[in-house]
Symmetry: C2
Subunit: 414 residues, 2 copies
Amino acid sequence: MKTIVEQLNQEQLSEVRRQMEIYTQGVQEIIPSEELEVKVAKSIMKNRPLKIKLGLDPSAPDVHLGHTVVLNKLRLFQDNGHVIQLLIGDFTGKIGDPTGKSVARKQLTDDEVKHNAKTYFEQFGKVMDMEKVELHFNSKWLSKLNFEDVINLAGKITVARLMERDDFEERIALGKPISLHEFFYPLMQGYDSVELECDIELGGTDQHFNILMGRHFQEKFGREKQVAMLMPLLEGLDGVEKMSKSKKNYIGIDEQPQDIYGKAMSIPDELMVKYFELITDFSPDDLAKIKTDLESGELHPRDAKMLLGKTIVRIYHGEEAADKAEKGFISVFQQGAMPDEIPTIVWDGKKEVAVVDLLVELDMLNSKSEARRMIQNKGVKVNGEKVEDTHTVISITNDLVIQVGKRKFVKIHI
Amino acid sequence: MKTIVEQLNQEQLSEVRRQMEIYTQGVQEIIPSEELEVKVAKSIMKNRPLKIKLGLDPSAPDVHLGHTVVLNKLRLFQDNGHVIQLLIGDFTGKIGDPTGKSVARKQLTDDEVKHNAKTYFEQFGKVMDMEKVELHFNSKWLSKLNFEDVINLAGKITVARLMERDDFEERIALGKPISLHEFFYPLMQGYDSVELECDIELGGTDQHFNILMGRHFQEKFGREKQVAMLMPLLEGLDGVEKMSKSKKNYIGIDEQPQDIYGKAMSIPDELMVKYFELITDFSPDDLAKIKTDLESGELHPRDAKMLLGKTIVRIYHGEEAADKAEKGFISVFQQGAMPDEIPTIVWDGKKEVAVVDLLVELDMLNSKSEARRMIQNKGVKVNGEKVEDTHTVISITNDLVIQVGKRKFVKIHI
């Protein structure tokens, strides 16, 4: 008996190859990759789109470049006629944390869930065609399960299997308690795949365990198993931790062009190629050239980074904004006003001074009212800390750095 | 501030002492016993009965003396005006085993559950006043829980705590899988106590973990915690294993007087006192006397056992039946037909012989048709093994023991 792939004609076969090359580019792991090929082949033979799932946290989204690693891949599937299933895990969000211990896991209302879904939709619209995307909320089926259903679901998985999840294993080793309800989150994610009948689930490598739950439960429910496609995690601007909102090491796709460009310039050199690969729309050939030129020295890292910054701005704000951001950067920074060359001003005034007075006396702003406005707009920082209140009084110390807006710095010498 | 017990007057105090003596007699463990005293004291002070829970398996009941250890204790509570809550775990029974692995855990229908509950009721009626007993089915509340409720319940217990249960711990040590749904059975039992608002839960020592779940969940739900009263497990007729239907080492309370009496006579000597303590209605003084007389040799173990047999028959069949059973026993066994004095018959016939022929030739039965009937009624054993088929052919060996009915034995010599 012939395999699906063997049944294809030459044209179909080369279409499978073409799509596989696109899909596998830059992916960290495909489990199992032979099944992906079979699914693509079937889809071509039967002219039936694949269903590609992405699970989303229902809490307030602020989409950053870390997310786009997965979104860009989804977009490639969409470009080839497949269907994206965005799954908002609102059921969990509406429950909150039953132990009451996690402050982060606060309970969301229906309105909050809807609002957050809308935000995802708006922001994802910069990467893919949202009119072709399916939007699902897992409360639709999970809220309907009764205790008997839950027990039947729980009967399809062993405790030992669940304890293999890295974070559970670690907590067990450290003697840290795991509440029984936590075992249900991977179950839910797995069951969502049963309901959605998805062919592929995408996620970061940190979703390895949870995405395999989808395969597990689809099999237990007698369905075709999904393929897990795990994308590399993008390190943030610190070059160490995964890019995330909470670590404040991210570039949001909704940020202003100038800010995106500026932040891109602070990416560590050694991550540059990874950023080009994962978050730009460069072709494999273009990527190869950048890599070679960087290695040979033909492309200066700073120039490569400027290209990266400009590219990111172009993707999310268009050509014009990209040109403007580049020009702005060149005029401010390349003309000698880099933050590592901050002007120092000797201070011989009071040791305790109202921040609005300080800003005027340092000539950073023209008037107290301008200073107040700037503080209200969150544009004033002292030693990197945002000044929240216009009545703040500053204790002057040596080397205190005052910043106004993105680019104006003064260091105090006493 | 005075404790509850300190607030009682002399009369109330001596009533607390009286009840406590009755309740604690023969109990293996009370967790914690000071709380039991407080509960009894409160009940006397406020003239409010305590609620005493007993959980029951919904599968086909066949109540034996092992059960009566707990039932007798419940009866004492009832005699003192407290309320017995019988809880039939029908929710679990209706689900069956979701993994499909356990044949024993077959799914029960509503009718089967009702029928089994009725059987419990009839049989328990021999020990307590069933008109005063509350009957509950946990499907009433458990079937109403939705996934969110289940997650909230699961959030109130840790995985580590559940893994402490002896059988789970053992299976983990042996690498045997535990399905996640199994973690829910102790949760349900615990949650039942929340719903029933019970003050005390009774059970065998093997229910230690499950009954403490009741305390745990009552506390988590902000209720007053139940006291766990754990009764010793009664070893069966083999003197080793816990009395149980599956081990066939039991005396059913519904059995015929003669059978109960006969089985009682086979109880190992060293268990006799325990049987007197746990399954008769003897007063503490009477029990003490039996113990002393046995130790001094004033009471012969055989006579003690006869008293035990007669007592059990009296409890479940009345005085008359007890007298008759005793007389019957004396006539059959004490007149020289004890099984350890089995008549030996020298066999010089064929080495392979049809069992029906053998029974007639040995003069154990009068005709082949009688022999066939006896085999069909499961009344024939060869070397202790029941003969299932009337066509069985026996291979004759030295010392082969043939048994017909309860009391007729022949040993073959070749």
